[in-house]
């Protein structure tokens, strides 16, 4: 039971980490290597608000969501649109966006080092709570709750709203989406901005229980990448399922075998998925 609950909570953390990049890469087709930095930026905002004026991270969220949305929308409109327009095919956009966002990640790290080069660590809701005889930290549980909420909202939005349908259409095939009258640039900007906000929200929540620093973003980008490739690029359900599997397996291995093997086990499942279902758990085969 301990394993199930701890594993689900860790999986929830991974859901938070992966959903933002999934929208940015899957829909806007921007392989955003600065996604982890956006997450750390959210964490820094939360840490800073908490330490300087004792503002609850949950209140910081209200501030961070619109700021991150606008910030990411501007990044897409100003910095990435030129790349999208000049790209002749998908591969070129991918290479260009990797290079551009890689540079962007350095800029963001530099800014954060200048703001606060030390660890972002504080205590928020670090209280034990017992669920089904298993002790868990309240801050992790809150983050899990938000992961469920954000995941559910995204799934509902994508599947039951007009804008969501347009987003899915762009994710499947940008060229054909344009033919049926979808403004691909606008939808991509929207997806990119929503993705950036999700990453920043993840940062706020994760900072309540993991100690971060300005340059840790790349670790989150890598984890997110593994999860969305496992789940199927652009598929929100796939990312959620993959994140939960990863959380459960890592906790299972850490508890029953050895905590030293968690990373190895994560890469092992990743390899297995790539071997037997290279398009991802929920991905469609390329035609």
């Amino acid at each position: 039971m301990d394993i199930l609950i701890s594993g689900l909570l860790l999986g929830g953390t991974y859901v938070l980490i992966a959903l933002g990049l999934n929208l940015q890469y899957g829909v806007a087709r921007i392989m955003n290597l600065a996604n982890g930095e956006m997450l750390v930026l959210g964490a820094l905002a939360s840490f800073w608000m908490f330490v300087s004026s004792a503002v609850s991270p949950l209140l910081t969220l209200i501030l961070v969501i619109p700021l991150a949305f606008i910030g990411n929308w501007l990044i897409y409109r100003l910095l990435l649109i030129p790349l999208v327009r000049r790209a002749r095919h998908q591969g070129q956009l991918e290479v260009d966006s990797i290079l551009a966002t890689f540079g962007m990640s350095f800029v963001l790290v530099g800014i954060m080092v200048a703001l606060h080069g030390e660890y972002f660590t504080y205590s928020f809701l670090a209280r034990p709570i017992t669920i089904l005889q298993s002790t868990v930290a309240l801050n992790r549980l809150v983050a899990f709750g938000f992961a469920v909420l954000i995941g559910a909202l995204l799934v509902l939005w994508l599947n039951y709203s007009r804008a969501g349908m347009a987003v899915r259409a762009v994710a499947v095939d940008p060229a054909s989406a344009r033919l049926v009258g979808i403004n691909v640039e606008k939808i991509s900007a929207l997806a990119f901005a929503v993705g950036g906000s999700v990453a920043a929200v993840a940062g706020v929540l994760i900072s309540t229980f993991i100690t971060l620093d300005a340059s840790v973003g790349v670790i989150f980008t890598m984890k997110a990448l593994i999860i969305i490739i496992m789940g199927g690029v652009g598929d929100v359900r796939g990312a959620i399922v993959a994140a939960l599997i990863l959380g459960l397996v890592e906790t299972l291995v850490a508890t029953l075998i050895d905590p030293g093997l968690t990373l190895a086990s994560a890469y092992l499942i990743f390899l297995l998925v790539l071997l037997f279902k290279p398009q991802g758990l929920f991905g469609r085969a390329q035609t």
Binding site: D2, S6, V109, Y122, T135, S215
Partner: protein, 406 residues
């Protein structure tokens, strides 16, 4: 048309001439008191940046500001100010070596502050030795010191050996066991990184020889997002003492989990960053009685003055361990340069070997390039992290009994 152009170019030519003359004059006057160039290479980004931002960079800043505030270092040919040139090694040894090379050949600095981190001090030792820079290593703990100092004549160590650190912990635990405060079951975990692995390997035989029973012994990868399985596992083994050879993010993470799981042990130890002011701020009174690597004697006049200056000049609190040692290494460099009266690196290195130095941690001298004066274990006692075990330090505090996590 032509006239205008020629008038313009004459004016341009004239102002260029003025600029040239001024620069010549300036460089000529500056020449009399060229600053002493000090290089510093340490992480500003990457995994070790958070620690360097607490322990390394503020002390360099403090030292340079202090020396310049009193007019520079006193040499034979008058006082000379310090000029600091900083590079980020991105927590990458390759980058570090490149930066040192640049400092030596392009910037032509007179001295370089030793690197941050054990691996970096060892990996970069050949390049410091090649250019003859004295390397007074602080943040470096190793059992290979004799071998290294024999190979690199300008390398000095100040923070102690792996074995000394483990023995510090062992002595504390054995003392508590012999006075009946704890039993002899230890749960030990370590971060799967050179530092954690070396300490865990040194600790296994030392704990066993001291009659302890290691009931839980696991490692976890650096950056593990969820340490609850580790703490749950340790708790299930019902230990009397918990020892973690940990790095900063996991020192915070393990302790938070230990509080959440209510891990009841008579002695709780985490390694690096337990001594950080941020650790005390995060956990408040809950961590009273927690042991950690390092320590200080905060009661001496020198240390109190140092803490005050550190806060005033850098805006940050010094940590309760290697901050002071880092500052001491710069005091040693300063006194050696002034003692020689010149920026001759070979003479300064020899001066460091032959003399003793008056520092904020008392008198320091090197025995075969190694200082044997350092703290090994500290304990949080009423909001201050006091040294409770040391090698040759004065003012070792009494151990306080830990009573739960409140």
């Amino acid at each position: 048309m032509f006239k205008i152009i020629s008038a313009n170019s004459i004016r341009k030519g004239f102002s260029a001439l003025v600029v040239v003359t001024l620069t010549t004059l300036l460089s000529f006057t500056a020449h009399a008191a060229d600053p002493i160039k000090i290089g510093a290479v340490a992480p500003k980004t990457g995994p070790l940046a958070g620690g360097a931002a607490v322990t390394q960079w503020p002390n360099i800043e403090l030292w340079v500001k202090e020396v310049n505030a009193r007019g520079g270092l006193k040499l034979k040919d008058g006082q000379r100010m310090l000029e600091l040139i900083e590079y980020d090694d991105k927590t990458n040894p390759g980058e570090h070596i490149k930066a040192v090379q640049r400092l030596a050949t392009q910037d032509k600095v007179d001295f370089i502050v030793a690197p941050y981190g054990t691996g970096f001090n060892i990996a970069a030792a050949p390049i410091y030795a090649k250019y003859g820079y004295p390397q007074i290593a602080v943040s470096a703990i190793s059992d290979k010191m004799d071998e290294l100092t024999a190979r690199y004549p300008s390398l000095f160590f100040t923070l102690g050996t792996t074995t000394a650190f483990v023995n510090g912990v062992k002595d504390i635990l054995a003392g508590m066991r012999d006075s009946g405060k704890i039993g002899n079951k230890i749960a030990m975990v370590n971060v799967a990184d050179a530092f954690g692995i070396e300490l865990a390997e040194a600790a296994r035989p030392i704990f066993k020889d001291a009659g302890f029973d290691i009931v839980y012994d696991k490692s976890y990868p650096l950056g593990t997002p969820d340490l609850s399985p580790v703490v749950k596992g340790a708790k299930a083994a019902a230990p009397d003492a918990f020892v973690a050879w940990s790095y900063p993010p996991d020192t915070f993470g393990l302790t938070e989990q230990a509080i959440i799981e209510d891990l009841q042990v008579g002695a709780y130890y985490t390694a690096v960053a337990t001594c950080f002011p941020a650790f005390g701020q995060k956990f408040g009174s809950k961590i009273d009685g927690v042991f950690g690597a390092g320590g200080v004697n905060p009661d001496t006049e020198e240390m109190q003055a140092y803490f005050k200056r550190h806060k005033e000049m850098t805006g940050k609190d010094a940590d309760y361990w290697a901050s002071a040692n880092t500052y001491v290494s710069l005091q040693i460099l300063e006194q050696a340069i002034e003692g020689v009266g010149d920026v001759d690196r070979e003479a300064v290195t020899q001066y460091i070997k032959d003399n003793s130095f008056d520092t904020i941690m008392g008198e320091i001298k090197f025995d075969n390039q190694i200082s044997h004066k350092f703290w090994t274990v500290g304990q949080w006692q009423d909001g201050v992290f006091r040294g409770v075990a040391s090698s040759n330090m004065d003012g070792v505090a009494e151990i306080k009994e830990k009573s739960g996590w409140n």
